[in-house]
Amino acid sequence: MAVEIETSLTEILARCHELSMRQRIPDDETDTAIGYFPVYFPEEIVHAAGLRPHALLGGGNRIEVRYADARIGSFVCSICRTTTELGLNGSLKGLGGFFAQPICDAAKHMAGIWGRNFPQQDPQILALPQNVNSSAAVRYVYDEYQRLRGILAQKVGHEIADEAIRESVRLYNENRRLQRALYAMKRDDPDRLSTVETYLLVRAGTRLRREEHNELLREVVRLLPERRVRTMDKPRVIFLGGFCEQPPLELIETIEDVCFIVDDDLLIGQRWIIEEVPEDGDPVWALAESYIQRSASSPVQFDARKPKEDMLMGMLRAARADAAILSAAKFCEPGLDDQLALSHRLDKEKVPYLVLEFEEKMTSFEQMAMQVETFAESLLFE
């Protein structure tokens, strides 16, 4: 039985790995795939239109950059560069739409790059607000979501009914519940479910229809309690820095060789809404309100209600973590700025931490492994 369970999980994870690494838009999704740049996107509206949300997550460390270097400054983060490369090398030619968001200045430029090079994809900015503390914010997000709804309706040639959006909300609510269950499991029983596995399971959702992803996650949640586990003694850490550009899998594995990552902000956009989106009433209003009132935090969203240091300390407490790994993608201004504020708080609270800088395209991890091992040892001997 245990072998069968492990075999099933291995197969599922292998499939998730294959899906996660998929960069090209499959032929059967041509023109229905709606690409969006991180962090969060109201996928429910896209789904309700019968289209396929496609999270653009860069090219990772298996892409050869041949064209994009001539189009983007040398001091810009890798995810902008490799996403542009995927556009220029034809991998994303099947996109039927492209949305960037004002998460940072480099990301806003992606709409300009796309507009100049792929105007047929109707590229633009979904202007999610940086001020979420105004009483006018929900109404503004609602208006911007309605604009999105109109654009998508035009693409599919019919109105997107409220009921269709409500149905998508129900589906995504289930998806979020399942993701929360995975995160609770890796927090409470990290021997049973690693962060690499959790990550692959979540990331696969960016390439699957949400119905299929729910099915996959339900199966994993059913199998995991029966999984045979070997108990290990490793320090418990949280990992921050994966809210936009994604660190290579090898980096997460390197950390997990010596630590349990019991919480993280990897692909935070997939878990941005932290509670149920109301399934009754105006569904677009419910999504807009949830964006403002029921959401996570990240370095690219100013929110006076969520001081970053307090969020970090809350995360450490909730995950019962011993330490933090404060990471940032190279050239990521928001991530780099936050690293300093967070490390000052950790100094004050006497919480051990390690600062790392990564690039999605990095391929050598020996030096980082040494850093992480030394850090883990220092935690064990404390």
Partner: protein, 429 residues
């Protein structure tokens, strides 16, 4: 605010106004004057004027560390403190200032802010304001101003979309007014806002005239040298009678130069458009590299987006409904001008036409993703689509480590060879 003695020429008038502004900042705390930290793009200065805030522009403080050759020390302090070399050098210079007991190389001791406004037109503004929150304990007020969503975005008054964006900005301005009332203990005065707006309108009218006068050949001023001093003054004195007076003096002076056929460059041979922010640490050298070839920067996108709300699109307030109009113009200025660096290809090509320019010079900034992320792509588009000669050089705002004189000079020289050849083919100037 203390006023200044009028001067007869724009240069000395501008200098006096800058000195006066710095003196006002220096003494603000002892005079019990509230202080606001603001940025040059999207700052709602009109509201702050109503409440009598002294304005500190940390961007200007930072660029001044470059102009005054003090930037390396400030940058080093911030990096020693833990900031990455890849962080915006303006931010680091400002952190250096905080770590230097706010003693600015201009001699001004910068006061702490009572209010800090960060607009979303540059996301680094927001991260920067978060640093102030931690250092000074002053909560940031983030003003989200939705920019254009795509290159051909046209905000059309009366449409639902226009109303949505305007409503959003107006809602936030009302929040800002409430915060200002809390800080200053003063009631908001709508009539005073109208008065400030009338002054801004006059400054906009004059500013558009001044920009247009540089369409003349020879260009009376260099937009990347003289123009920078103009926008410094007009940012600091926006909405004031002194600002209007300065602009009038400046307009007269520039118009007089045009009438006399006096150009900035003695023998103007090439007219250029500059895209991007300048390298303040080598400002004169940068301009000199072009002027020795008879090249003048007739226009630049910098003079549009760094001119605060004084957008060159010629947007004017309606003082009969001051608050609504402020929300409208703030939104329109963002969508027609201030958010243009993401989609500036057509605007630059239009500037080439308007200013009868021979080419575009792109200046990529190492630590400024707002301006420089897609410049190379923009250049590729403009070159291919419009067949315009372009040059791409790269350095930084104020970090001298990224200025490579020989490399930049080589590229500039090669660019002029191309311009010379084109000129010969066209039969010369």
């Amino acid at each position: 605010m203390t006023t200044t003695v009028p001067a007869r020429d724009a240069r000395s008038a501008g200098q006096r106004l800058v000195n006066q502004w710095l003196a006002n900042i220096h003494t603000a705390s002892e005079r019990g004057q509230p202080v606001a930290y603001v940025f040059v793009m999207g700052n709602a200065v009109e509201i702050l004027r109503v409440f009598g805030f002294e304005l500190v522009f940390p961007e200007i403080n930072s660029l001044q560390t470059g102009v005054r050759k003090a930037a390396p020390d400030f940058l080093a302090k911030a990096e020693d403190y833990g900031f990455s070399p890849d962080v915006c050098s303006y931010v680091k210079a400002d952190v250096g200032l905080m770590l230097s007991d706010m003693q600015h190389p201009s001699g001004t001791r910068m006061p702490k802010p009572n209010l800090a406004i960060a607009s979303s037109l540059c996301n680094v503004y927001i991260k920067w304001a978060e640093i102030w929150e931690r250092h000074f304990g002053t909560p940031a007020f983030v003003l989200d101003i939705p920019g254009k969503r795509f290159a051909s975005w046209q905000p059309i008054p009366g449409t639902a979309q226009y109303d949505a964006d305007k409503r959003w900005v107006e809602g936030q301005l009302r929040d800002l007014i409430a915060r200002c009332e809390d800080i200053t203990g003063k009631k908001f005065d709508l009539d005073r806002l109208a008065e400030v707006e009338r002054n801004v309108n006059e400054m906009i009218r004059l500013w558009v005239e001044i920009l247009t006068l540089n369409q003349q050949r020879p260009a009376p001023y260099n937009s990347m040298l003289d123009g920078l001093t103009y926008i410094g003054v007009l940012n600091a004195w926006r909405g004031t009678p002194e600002g209007v007076e300065y602009m009038r003096l400046l307009r007269d002076e520039v118009a007089d130069k045009v009438a006399r056929g006096q150009g900035r460059v003695a023998n103007e041979r090439f007219r250029l458009i500059f895209s991007g922010t300048p390298c303040y640490v080598n400002l004169r050298r940068l301009v000199e590299l072009f002027e020795t070839h008879g090249g003048v920067f007739a226009a630049s996108d910098y003079l549009t987006y760094a001119a605060g709300g004084l957008d060159s699109s010629g947007l004017y307030y309606d003082p009969s409904r001051p608050l609504e109009s402020l929300a409208e113009v703030t939104t329109l200025a963002s969508q027609l001008g201030l958010s243009n660096h993401f989609f500036s290809h057509h605007t630059l090509a239009q500037q080439v036409k308007d200013y009868a320019a021979d080419g575009i010079v792109y200046h990529g900034i190492k630590s400024c993703r707002t301006v420089a992320t897609s410049m190379a792509d923009n250049r590729e588009y403009v070159t291919t689509r419009y067949g315009l000669p372009t040059l791409y050089i790269e350095s930084d705002l104020i970090d001298p480590r990224y200025w490579s004189d020989a490399q930049i000079k080589n590229r500039v020289d090669a660019f002029f060879e191309v311009l010379e050849q084109r000129s010969l083919l066209k039969g010369g100037h």
